[in-house]
Symmetry: C2
Subunit: 603 residues, 2 copies
């Protein structure tokens, strides 16, 4: 099973060498960890994933979660996974010692999550949302809520969810209508939520829902939304549980991630659903979004993981499948020759290199963003924390989107490598393709992320975040210019950075005139443009680290390993980065063809 | 059900006005038809599709074809469809009067096929392959084969297939090993074939397989392959049938097109499988490929049809779903406003316009290629026939590929319009996305088509086909330059035509040096580049026809209809055509990063 779904060497190269986890471990918060202890964690996560995740991947697709007799039937491994992952510390890892956690850096938690998701993306979401829900309680809940729920959640005994979406609201959270009516020291909750991942399943002892709702009389819009803990079962003083009128009414059947249930919940249908306010009233959405950076990194990481597993599946196939022959100098093939392995065909190599470039670029982006997160919470210098907070903010919509969108393209190329077999259920590529499709929708669609990037993050604090990011990129360009092999690429990156300025000036012109609709109309092509350049930056760094390792005679990885990184960087700059030229043309157009008018443009 | 899956007005606009079917009907071969009779046919195909195809689309996905007790269980509508489609003339339409056909132009057959495939792409393949198999017999088979098989096939009583692929060969047809041993006036066939669409199903009276095999002692490679008629059941003199030792051993389960069976067949496992040679020995592959243009147009058409149906599904959703609000000049939203329909959001409009641009561009490409086909067979002037033959040859790989590749992107955007619902099985977009995925693999993958385009079609007869195509495009540019509204776009198209020359000069340099591997290494990006520009050309024509119709006060369609065509052309030139700038950079690179070497580039 080694290298079946992941290349642990690349993970370590990106974690330690390129993104310098050791620097993060220097901070007092993480002083109990060193490279050896992290290595042990990574290796145990891989062994765990080989045993508890990878073997169930296909089964969970073939036996989807489904609604039956008022509850949701899931694969039996769901309950087992929650328990074992809890024991392994994969939930507690994310929490401070004070909360009974292991206080691991986000970089490490993301590495652990990535390994598990590459093995089987249908399971880790169950603990991912449990972490998210428990984090909301530990950050904003009172002691009672902490004591009642968090320990059980950290050990994997109780699941957790985030309940945002309602049928009439979708992405528009200001339109949430679930109500909370004061009732002693708690609230009566009434309403329904849809698309609740891990929302309920057979055998779950308890599920702790973190629910957005409106206290009666609250202001309209996002400023009237509060956050509540609403358990499926209310814990009594004696430790027993009482049903809390949270009813599962359906499971959404989906084209992918079929083992990961997606539920439709009714709260308070019998007027007996109690919820407990988290933090202050009307601040629910703010709390939710303070935790959203982590959730969005996790989505990008999941997509990167699926694309990685798909890459290895198609790479393995290409190494085994003989078909066709090399073209001779006559332009013909010699049919008496034996067939060649398809990995020798340039078109197949192009598809594989695209996958490699996208997946490793995505993983490096995940680690970098997680590093910014770690610095933003753990740096001892407040000014540095603020700096990294801004860097985290600007990268968050990108780390959510690039792996989801380009990961989809990468997996699609992976399927194509297999030809007709790729379309067949006997091969796994089609499952990866179906599974990854949700990631550009999860936690804010690509359109929403793109508006966040251009409309908020680029402009925040007078462009401070963008300026800080540009400084980081400029450092890489300077370092790259000093290398003979890298300097043409560093130069190219510099040109793209200038092009970014030009593109932004063009877009921001609209904002200055108060025409926000036109300003943001091409936010999505801008996201594609901007993220493509950022990943180009990361590849330059990866190649530089590989070159330096070679120059220093480093032996952590093989010479071929390091050389392949430089080769993939060249591929990225030759086959991916040029797309930004056309994208810049697209974004700088002044025609506003997508802005609504009275003209009936759909005929 | 009107406009649920297709816009028949756009179909008629593209067929009659843009691609001038009437000119084709002027040719003696088609003199029995006029616009009125074709209109009747189109309308009856739509009514037929509403009744016999569309209602079964979802069912066929939910109840996939599957192998059981030695045969393949399909949806009962398969047998009914074959029969009714036969009665309607949808099979016979493709054949000359002499063969008992209706002698319809390919343009019309493609229009009829497109309507049916938009309604339900799981069914028309059954008649599509029956047409293909019968065409091989009528073109190359002797009178006895014609008399024995063709009438039954044209009435839909017997199905037909094309049996090319074998497990060890895949796209590499020179490696076919199925054998044919002379046995009186027929041959004993022995071997296996995979991925045989419509290869066998419960209730089929007979299936006529057109099988590629090697006569014992034949030369190696493609020049030793012959074509045989191998029926599932041998017809006896008295009309009775005797089983012919063609055994169905499996049905491939797939991620999409689940209602369209894909079989694995054994021929002659009991040494009792008879086949009859079609035409001369060793010319089988040539015959097969003489019929391949039609099959490849059909694949592109099917993809265009699916993308069309997906477009209408997402357009309808966007017209009904309220969510979010317009941005005010403060950059904020007024939460007290009612939610707006999502069709008013620029990002949603962008996704819908992309779908419209791709699907209508694809359909026009299908009709244009079919028109070239009609002229190439029916023009009274041999020189003109030769000219259109070349135009058909160069467009064939493009018409197969563009709708398949960009149709996939269009459907993906369509799914995204629905947000989370798009991923759910309750909505149809996910089925379209799964179904369309096979089209870039069918009948030669995108990689194969791209090599055909660059390696054969562009260079054939010293570039004659490309020269003829450039002349056609230049005519459109000249006509466009004369229109005030269109001239900037016509100019842009001229620039892209020049860029094409530059890109080709760069690539052909390798071929001149005999380095065919490097010449063709970037054939796939070249296909993307070239087809993007060709569809830009078609949109210029569509907009010009729309403008002329408006100028002439034409009333076939509404003013809004015509204006929407110009708007979509502008969208295409603003959001799609600029991609060719980056693609040109990619193709003109000189790094050969995808050409195999001893370097281990995958780490």
């Amino acid at each position: 099973m080694a290298n079946e779904y992941i290349d642990i060497e690349t993970l370590k190269f990106l974690l330690y060498r390129v993104n310098r986890l050791q620097d993060v471990l220097e901070m007092p918060n993480y002083e109990e960890y060193d490279k050896d202890s992290i290595d042990m964690l990574l290796n145990s996560a891989k062994a765990f994933s080989d045993k508890e995740l990878y073997p169930y991947y296909r089964e969970m697709d073939e036996n989807p979660a489904h609604f039956k007799d008022g509850e949701i039937v899931v694969h039996p491994q769901v309950n087992n996974y929650m328990k074992v992952a809890g024991e392994m510390g994969f939930i507690a890892g994310a929490f401070p010692y004070d909360n009974g956690g292991l206080q691991l850096p986000s970089m490490v938690m993301n590495a652990l999550g990535y390994i598990q998701e590459a093995a089987n993306n249908h399971l880790p979401g169950y603990i991912g949302l449990t972490i998210g829900a428990a984090e909301l309680i530990t950050h904003f809940g009172n002691q009672h809520l902490n004591d009642t729920y968090v320990p059980k959640m950290l050990e994997g005994a109780w699941g957790g969810t985030m309940c945002l979406t309602e049928p009439q609201a979708g992405s528009s959270l200001s339109d949430i209508i679930t109500t909370a009516t004061p009732d002693g020291n708690s609230y009566k909750i009434h309403g329904q939520k849809i698309f609740i991942s891990g929302g309920d399943y057979q055998g779950a002892e308890n599920i702790v829902h973190l629910v957005l709702a409106r206290i009666k009389g609250a202001p309209a819009g996002t400023k009237g939304i509060s956050l509540f803990v609403v358990p499926k079962n209310r814990p009594n003083e004696d430790g027993s549980l009482t049903p809390n009128d949270v009813q599962t009414v359906a499971d959404f059947e989906k084209m992918g991630q079929k083992g990961y249930c997606t539920t439709h919940l009714f709260f308070g249908d019998k007027e007996d659903c109690q919820g407990w306010l988290v933090g202050e009233a009307h601040k629910g959405l703010k709390y939710m979004f303070l935790m959203m950076n982590g959730a969005r990194i996790a989505v990008g990481r999941g997509a990167a993981a699926i694309a990685t597993a798909a890459y290895h599946a198609s790479l393995n196939y290409a190494h085994e499948r003989a078909q066709g022959r090399k073209l001779a100098s006559t332009g013909k093939k010699d049919v008496n020759q034996e067939q060649t392995l398809i990995i020798n065909h340039p078109d197949v190599r192009r598809m594989l290199l695209l996958q490699k470039a996208v997946t490793e670029g995505s993983l490096s982006l995940v680690f970098l963003t997680a590093k910014y997160h770690d610095y933003s919470v753990s740096h001892t210098d407040a000014e540095q924390r603020e700096k990294y907070k801004l860097l985290l903010e600007i990268l968050t919509p990108v780390v959510k989107t690039y792996p989801s969108e380009m990961g989809k393209v990468a997996v699609d190329n992976g399927l194509q490598v297999l030809g007709g077999y790729g379309f067949c259920s006997d091969y796994i590529l089609q499952q990866y393709l179906r599974d990854i499709r949700i990631f550009s929708i999860y936690e804010g669609t690509t359109g929403i992320q793109s508006q966040d990037l251009l409309g908020r993050k680029i402009t925040m604090e007078n462009g401070k975040a963008l300026q800080l990011l540009s400084e980081e990129i400029t450092k890489s360009i300077k370092a790259g210019m000093a290398h003979e092999t890298l300097s043409p690429y560093a130069k190219k990156l510099g040109e793209k950075l200038e092009l970014t300025q030009k593109v932004l000036q063009s877009a921001i012109g609209y904002a200055m005139k108060g025409d926000y609709e036109r300003f943001l109309a091409d936010a999505t092509p801008f996201m594609e443009f901007f993220s493509n350049i950022l990943v180009g930056w990361l590849w330059l760094d990866m190649a530089r680290e590989a070159q330096q390792a070679l120059a220093n005679g480093a032996t952590e990885h093989s010479t071929e390993f390091y050389e392949s990184k430089t080769h993939t960087m060249e591929f990225y700059y030759t086959y991916e980065l040029p797309k930004t030229t056309g994208l810049a043309e697209i974004i700088m157009n002044r025609k506003s063809l997508t802005v609504g008018s009275d003209k009936k443009v759909f005929g």
